[in-house]
């Protein structure tokens, strides 16, 4: 490959004092600061940039913006590599490394290109037709299809970069920083509004950045842009966001944007790589501009074929000629500007091929005047060249424009600039449910009915003249500011003092005819990224996929990373013609966010790793951590799981802990349990309704266990509630349900019983709670309190006393989740660690043993105490759990009561909670194991239920398990089976209680 230099000497907004080295496909090149990767590649004569998705056809850069369908590269290396990045948006930085995608072994010699030769076997809908049968093979097919598609590679290592995300608010968001957007921002900001102006490019100015002759307010357009931006940047309430894409416009003017903060500086730059903005705007001005429409002609995809506006941008903004000999193919005047600018810069213009028979007007005259050959009523019917365009065939069009009259003429050229007109960029408007209207003049969709709080201006309205952009933008900005409440003096509309020549009408041919039938010979590409041709659209039509939504899915048109920015309107128009309908009758597909792909990292910001979700810690957390306890996640809480001694595994540690509790004294951190303070004259009434048992007669100072049911009669929480005063209770909830129970109480109080006099306040975090369990608990506690009598008579089971423990003010309750003598000590949260340490120190001589959640689970299972969420899954009534004793028969009502009468709920053979004792006492059934009565050689078998809890219990001396089993209470003594993958466990159905059945240990 010979090196070429297509730089234009005195053009462009580059800093030529700063050459930049970069590597593309392993080869070193140079560009300048201000280049994009695309402009630098073009400058170096690199036309072949990648291979297409389906046919692996050679492709080059087609556009100069975010609509680029072809020039997608793999950017960066190692953990920082990123696929599918548009070369047109990559600002060049020193050391940049990029490579072509979708080719192997190289972009020049690609084995996948055989797909192109076989393309007649890969029509639209090929995958649907070919890989449908047998259905079970789809997974295998998919693997190969995905490999063959191979659009870039995802990094295999964690992303080393930092991302940021932020909320933001403003009065007026202006999306798009071209003439309309800048004018809107000026008007709104001067009126006093808080303004955010965002543009996806590195510089504000949009099309003005490559306008050479226009003058605004008496100075060159680019100078006016600079002055306007300077004015905006001095205003404290204006935020200017460059390199920022508004990618989603949600309800209520919530707009998501992504700012590429340091991408243009290369890897390892200071600061976050990107910032994700979640912005709420009172008013939105969309000034998103327009995207030029490619012409659909035969083999319109060769490297070197570009949009005319891109050719102009490369010349005027980036100082690059797109070729040495450029052919322009157009149906409108705007492409003439590119031809004229290139000619002025000294680039040869091979010809201007114009679809219009009556090509006239000042621009055409100027071209002819400059000696450029203009071929009116002509079309490009074929192109030549592989790695780069070499030439085209041009033929005269017939009068109708649906055929050619023959007599092809060969014209040599190494670049072709095409223009089929302009499509307003209505994507964001459409995200927000904005209705579109087909505009006959621009032959494309424009915003229709205005959306509340949203204004549109400039080219996206189909207003392509700079003066109109400025006027519409300024008016929109002023209106938006005023509707947001800012009504200061905005000054007057910036005026165009020297305009570009006016344009004469376009001729639109949705398919440019050639001398061969469609689909034979050349390919008329509609969607360059997904390799969808005009012939594919015709095939979809023939096969009945005529709705635009069917067309899209059948051909994959518009489904690439570019979301069909350059292809949608052409495809719709072609389908409309095939159906002999008008375009608005055919309609358009739905535009959905994101407007352009967004890196996942930007969404997470710094909410990743340990910050992904809150980690809740108890006041004693540090002690558990220091002791080496692993933690169990209970909701967002970290609870100590077990406390291994040196050399102990989990099994050994738990076995030691559960024995110690029953033999001496164990200490557990129970601070995570929910606590709700309930006050008011209707407090007992509330408890009577939310719990299944009766509360009115509970004495002050006494505690009671309660089960809560939903209206469906199913258990959803349990806990002990204590009466602190006549109208004052302290409710405890399970750890995971604390917030849900408070919400449940509030829901009933606020929605159903608003006249009840009760207030509920969460006090979970007010207290640190320590459970002291075991026969030695009383002796130990006695050493640390002198104002709480601990004997059974003075401090009976299920009561509360207040006093001091270790000198700390404490509420002590005698409740038990282990079946042992238990004192639950509650102190102010900030003294939790002090209490814990005091108990550990004083308890040393009693062998005090800290135990975690695992030992707690074993201990309670020995006693048959349920854990809501483990024994229950929202389908258990109290009766199912063998807890009918806790359901009051006297109370007139409680939540769930009525549901107990439902036939299904009252049925005697529901799944009941039972115990399971394995035949082999040392065998522990895996939790979740399915219980069957009749064993078969292989599934399916009739499943009776499942094992909910299962442990080895050193205190019982064997394994124990609880299970919910269909009709379980009537199966006592039966043998059931738990079939596993490698063995079957036989077990006997028992009562769900295994230890201290008479409850003698409660009092120590």
């Amino acid at each position: 490959m010979t090196r070429r230099n297509l730089r234009l000497a005195d053009r462009g907004r580059l800093d030529r004092s700063q050459p930049i080295r970069f590597i593309f496909n392993g080869r070193t090149y140079y560009g300048y600061k201000g280049d994009t990767l695309a402009s630098a590649l073009i400058a170096n004569g690199v036309a072949l940039v990648g291979r297409s998705f389906k046919y692996h056809r050679p492709r080059g850069i087609m556009t100069a913006g975010s609509e680029e369908p072809n020039g997608l590269v793999q950017l960066g290396q190692g953990a920082r590599t990123e696929p599918n990045i548009r070369a047109t948006q990559i600002e060049l930085y020193d050391g940049l490394v990029a490579a072509s995608q979708n080719c192997w072994p190289s972009v020049g010699f690609d084995l996948g290109a055989t797909n192109n030769l076989l393309s007649r076997f890969f029509p639209a809908g090929f995958y649907y037709k070919t890989f449908m049968w047998p259905a079970s093979f789809w997974m295998k097919y998919e693997y190969f299809i995905r490999r063959a598609a191979g659009l870039g590679k995802a990094p295999g290592e964690p992303d080393p970069d930092r991302y940021d995300k932020t909320y933001a608010h403003c009065d007026v968001l202006v999306a798009g920083g071209g003439p309309a957007g800048i004018a809107a921002a000026l008007a709104a900001a001067r009126a006093g509004a808080r303004v955010v102006l965002a543009d996806e490019q590195a510089e504000f100015g949009g099309q003005l950045l490559h306008s050479r002759s226009e003058e605004i307010a008496g100075r060159p357009a680019v100078d006016w842009v600079a002055a306007a931006v300077a004015e905006l940047s001095t205003m404290p309430e204006v935020t200017l966001l460059r390199r920022t894409t508004a990618f989603a416009y949600q309800d209520h003017n919530f707009v998501e944007l992504v700012e590429r903060v340091t991408d243009h500086l290369g890897p390892g730059a200071d600061g976050p790589r990107q910032r994700y903005w979640r912005l709420r705007a009172r008013q939105v001005v969309l000034a998103a501009g327009a995207i030029e429409r490619p012409l659909v002609f035969a083999d319109n995809d060769r490297p070197g074929i570009m949009l005319a506006s891109a050719g102009r941008a490369y010349a005027n903004r980036y100082g690059v000629a797109v070729g040495d000999k450029v052919l322009v193919f157009t149906g409108n005047d705007s492409a003439y500007r590119a031809a004229l600018d290139l000619a002025e810069a000294g680039t040869a213009i091979a010809a201007i091929v114009d679809l219009r028979p009556d090509a006239g007007g000042p621009l055409v005259a100027e071209a002819r005047g400059k000696g450029i050959e203009v071929l009116a009523a002509h079309a490009v019917t074929a192109t030549r060249g592989s790695a780069r365009l070499e030439g085209v065939t041009v033929m005269p069009l017939n009068a109708a424009g649906d055929g050619v009259t023959g007599g092809g003429r060969q014209i040599a050229c190494d670049a072709l600039l095409m223009s089929g007109g302009w499509n307003p960029a209505i994507h964001l408007f459409s995200h927000n449910r904005g209705k579109l209207r087909f505009d006959e003049r621009v032959q494309s969709f424009v915003p229709g009915e205005p959306v509340r709080g949203c204004h549109t201006a400039g080219a996206m309205n189909g207003a392509f003249e700079t003066a109109d952009c400025l006027a519409q933008g300024f008016a929109a900005g002023r209106k938006a500011a005023s509707e947001a409440g800012a009504s200061g003096e905005a000054g007057s509309v910036p005026t165009v003092t020297r305009a570009e020549p006016a344009e004469s009408p376009d001729r639109v041919l949705w398919i440019v005819p050639s001398d061969k039938p469609l689909g034979e010979g050349g390919k008329h590409f509609v969607d360059h990224q997904n390799d969808v041709t005009a012939a594919d659209v015709a095939l979809a039509h023939r096969e009945g996929y005529r709705s635009v939504e069917h067309l899209k899915r059948y051909t994959t048109m518009g489904m690439g990373t570019d979301q069909g920015k350059t292809s949608n309107v052409n495809a719709l128009a072609i389908m409309a013609a095939l159906r002999d309908r008008q375009i608005p009758e055919v309609g358009h597909t739905t535009f959905r966010p994101p407007f352009a792909p967004v890196t996942i990292g930007a969404f997470s910001g710094h909410d990743k790793g340990d910050l992904f979700d809150p980690i809740r810690k108890t006041p004693m957390h540090g002690w558990h951590e220091k002791t080496g306890a692993p933690f169990e996640d209970v909701g967002q809480w970290k609870r100590a799981w077990y406390y291994p001694k040196p050399g102990e595994d989990m099994h050994a540690a738990v076995a030691r802990e559960v024995k110690a509790v029953r033999a001496g004294v164990g200490i557990v951190d129970a601070s995570t349990l929910g606590k709700i303070d309930i006050k008011g004259s209707d407090a007992a009434r509330l408890l009577n309704m939310v719990y299944t048992n009766a509360w009115s007669k509970l004495e002050i100072g006494r505690c009671r266990y309660g089960l809560m049911c939903g209206e469906d009669g199913m258990v959803f929480d349990d806990g002990v509630t204590t009466r602190l005063g006549e109208q004052h209770f302290l409710m405890s909830t399970t750890t995971g349900n604390a917030a849900r129970v408070l919400g449940w109480l509030e829901e009933w109080l606020q929605c159903e019983w608003p006249d009840w006099q009760v207030h509920c306040t969460s006090v979970t975090e007010q207290f640190a709670t320590v459970g002291l369990n075991g026969p030695m608990a009383r002796k130990l506690l006695a050493e640390l309190t002198d104002d709480i009598p601990l004997d059974d008579a003075a401090f009976p089971f299920m009561s509360i006393r207040e006093g001091h423990v270790a000198g700390i003010a404490a509420r002590v309750m005698r409740i038990s989740f282990t079946g042992e003598l238990t004192f639950e000590i509650n102190v102010a949260a900030s003294y939790g660690l002090a209490l814990w340490e005091a108990l550990m120190a004083a308890g040393e001589k009693y062998g005090i043993t800290p135990y975690g959640t695992e030992a707690m689970h074993v201990l309670r299972a020995e006693k048959g105490f349920i854990i809501v969420g483990q024994e229950t899954d929202g389908t258990q009534t109290p009766q199912d759990l063998d807890m009918a004793w806790i359901v009051s028969k006297q109370k007139p009502d409680h939540l769930g009561k009525r549901s107990f009468l439902r036939t299904d709920t009252a049925r005697p053979d529901r799944k009941h909670l039972v115990g399971l004792l394995t035949e082999n006492p040392s065998e522990v059934i895996p939790e979740g194991g399915q219980v069957v009565a009749e064993l078969k050689n292989q599934p399916p078998m009739t499943m009776l239920g499942h094992v909910t809890s299962s442990y080895y219990s050193p205190n019982v001396g064997r394994s124990i398990a609880m299970a919910v089993v269909k009709n379980g209470r009537n199966r006592m003594g039966d043998t059931v089976y738990v079939p596993l993958v490698d063995r079957v466990i036989r077990a006997k159905v028992t009562e769900p209680r295994f230890f201290d059945l008479e409850g003698a240990r409660l009092n120590g």
Binding site: K617, T618, G680, E765, A829
Partner: protein, 206 residues
Amino acid sequence: MVESYRRRSPLASFGLPARAAAQSPEAVADADLQLGERPHRCQINLRGNPQDGRFLEAVRNAAGLALPTEPNRVAAAGELKALWLGPDEWLILGPGGRETELVGTLARGLQGQHAGATDVSEARTWILVAGGRARALLARGIPLDLHPREFRPGHCAQTGLAGANIILQQTDDRPSYEIGVTNSFADHLWHWLERGAIDYRVAISV
């Protein structure tokens, strides 16, 4: 009575006083963000009906405060503040140590009314976020508009930050914000704030 050194704030493990002491005066002067913990405050959750004159009167007698009835506003009197939390709910905030006496006075004053005072002093710590970058840092996680046109000293709000429910109040125009967060989330929130402030010059304020 237990010695106060045995008392630990939720952020005690971060050693903030020691970090603050180790800062150079230049670093403190140069900082664009101050972070700090303001623990162990008197905090009383107050419930009652603001349409009931007896309720407002009882609170005024007990705490010397006129409760704010405009949503998300703070009323101050002497060393006490009342933060509006809901149509019938406020947080009385004051220096630590006053809670027992105050909750008792309030309870006595409110006797016979459908109103209640609950001591929640121990449930929550407060984190100071102040200085030129405070607004930008908080905007990373708080969906509310903290622009001075919208949120000023004397304003408060209950919102979410880093997955935690918080009470936010602005205390001055520097701007200084105080974030009330329940103990168990404090560790996580502090990590989040420090990580979010990685591009700023942070001073620890005690």
